[in-house]
Symmetry: C2
Subunit: 354 residues, 2 copies
């Protein structure tokens, strides 16, 4: 039978959240690589200049609390500021070519743990849950400010992902605007609800749990999959389990928070175990904006975008065709899930050194 088989033949898949196609070339996984190699640093020596340590003096002169769990402060080099004057140049409606608008916001840095050398993959579930709680507090605190309409929580992990300090930490950039990727994703979810009467991500999670092939972690509250439309080789989405509806972190009780921590721990342990290295990624949360509107069509979800492709040193470059045309991947989402499912999600290859 010479029919089309997406495990074998070049094809495009469609991401219903971004409303964009991407190219998939399953036959191409075996091409040789002569290009650059990443260094994934395994040693995380204590550095007295690390300004995220408890009690450290930062560039701004401020001193961190002697924190024992988590700690948050305003970013000393915030991309957004709370007091920008309002104003705008041109408009989309008028088809202008020079369009700019002032924005306001607040950026925070979130320290995940007092120890400089731990990552989420090596933390206990309680330690990870403390991060979820920290996120929730700041989502609500920032979200309650009248000028803040979206709270973007994220973590850049590893030098390969532009992270300048290996101390476990994340960031929040919150602002008066809904960033483009969330705006489009919310639009997609609203349209789906209107067309089908059910939530896009509830429909999706049910089908993935039934098919099983792309699921890499699952508990009563959350499910982690390599989405059918993943662009990055080991892209992962963590979304509410079948029957659950969480618009944002604010909808999680302690049991659900612990479920999310469990899923995050399983995903990051599989990541680290895959190539036996500290797996670099950017991750973040898409959830309900804080502009007071109705977002009952939305499901919160975590997105992980890791850059490694074939080993601890060979990464996927989203360049060339990807920048000019559209994202492209070699191994399929199903193959990626198989590889992650072979390694442990409970034990970390580097037992935690206490």
């Amino acid at each position: 039978d010479p029919g089309f088989d997406y495990n074998e033949h070049p094809h495009r898949r469609y991401n219903p959240l971004t409303q964009r196609w991407l190219l998939c070339s399953p036959h191409r996984t075996k091409r040789p690589w002569q290009g650059g190699k990443e260094t994934v640093n395994e040693d995380r020596p204590y550095d007295p200049r690390n300004n995220l340590l408890p009690g450290a003096v930062r560039t701004s002169g401020e001193v961190n609390l002697e924190y024992e769990s988590t700690f948050a402060f305003t970013n000393d080099f915030s991309a957004l500021l709370p007091d920008t004057p309002h104003g705008q140049v041109g408009s989309v409606e008028n088809n202008n070519l020079f369009i700019a608008e002032a924005v306001r916001g607040e950026c925070r840095v979130l320290c995940f743990h007092p120890r400089h050398d731990l990552t989420i993959a090596e933390m206990t579930q309680e330690e990870i849950q403390a991060i979820v709680t920290l996120w929730t507090i700041h989502y609500e605190d920032l979200g309650s400010k009248p000028s803040i309409n979206y709270v973007q929580i994220f973590e850049n992990k590893g030098a390969a992902m532009g992270c300048s300090n290996p101390h476990p930490h994340g960031q929040i950039w919150s602002g008066s605007f809904i960033p483009e990727n969330s705006r489009v994703s919310l639009e997609s979810q609203a349209n789906y609800k209107k067309a089908k009467g059910i939530l896009l991500l509830q429909d999706y999670v049910e089908q993935e749990v039934e098919k099983k092939i792309r699921v890499i972690a699952q508990n009563e509250y959350f499910v982690a999959v390599i989405p059918f439309w993943a662009a990055w080789p080991y892209e992962v989405m963590i979304m509410p389990a079948p029957g659950r509806h969480y618009k944002s972190l604010s909808d999680l009780d302690d049991a659900a928070k612990s479920g999310l921590a469990d899923a995050m721990g399983r995903v990051t342990r599989r990541y680290d175990n895959l190539f036996e290295c500290s797996f670099p990624y950017s991750m973040g949360i898409h959830q309900a904006p804080t502009d007071g509107k109705d977002y009952s069509f939305a499901q919160m979800h975590l997105l992980y975008y890791p850059c490694l492709l074939r080993s601890a040193t060979v990464k996927k470059f989203m360049v060339g065709f990807e920048m000019l045309g559209e994202p492209q991947r070699d191994l399929t989402a199903e193959q990626a899930a198989d590889k992650l499912n072979v390694v442990s999600d409970t034990e970390h290859y580097r037992k935690r050194l206490s």
Copy 2:
């Protein structure tokens, strides 16, 4: 006057081609950098294993022509293949969640010069024009095939941009589909023509040439600017000069080809001179699809996406907020143009060694 000033205050700008906003934080240019450093290799020693050399035997066993100017061959690890069976799973119209479609295409590698150690920035105008001619031949050859509807020409330059061989070369990925970024750009240009009666990029080039502040190279045929909506720190667009209408490479006569070569030479020399290094970038051409439809609303243009931010070793990472939210930049397009305009566009800092 406490009004909004986009040279100073955090703001968003709108890209009318991608129909997307991006965040701009002009106040943030001075933050310290403690993160990873790129290695930009200046020595390009002769490597006998370089499979792009004239006469070299490739992995496939095929032998390159003893070429003296340019040379093209079918990619030995093509992401697209000419004989994929047709087929499709799900559809966008039906709001399916698992949507895939088979695609066909052809990928080629284009060697720009027999010398392994030359880059476009160090080539003569005649040598660059030979590349433009090569592109035109392959745009027309591939475009004439019934199954090929778009010909994506691009160049990944430098290890930082995922380029695995420093020999000067580019690629073509051509396929049965119009890649997403071109599809949206063409839609924007069509809408603009309908709404305003003029071409988007003709209107734009006229205003940029008048304003001057973002122009970095200009001749009778082409104009290079840092677009008002640039996302990458030194992103550049080369587009037809005022009064010119070129839908694709096929519309260029020899004089216009030489004009394009001149603009490409000036842009890449400024790039290399900026940090006195071989400036890494991805570049490519957006032009008319080859599906036989009417694209008279479109202007061909070249897009350069270079990754460096502050020096030969510090690059901009499009991670975290950028992946989850939307692109962000520190220095403004105007500041970037100023910096590029300070360095020479005629002399290369490393005089060509013959």
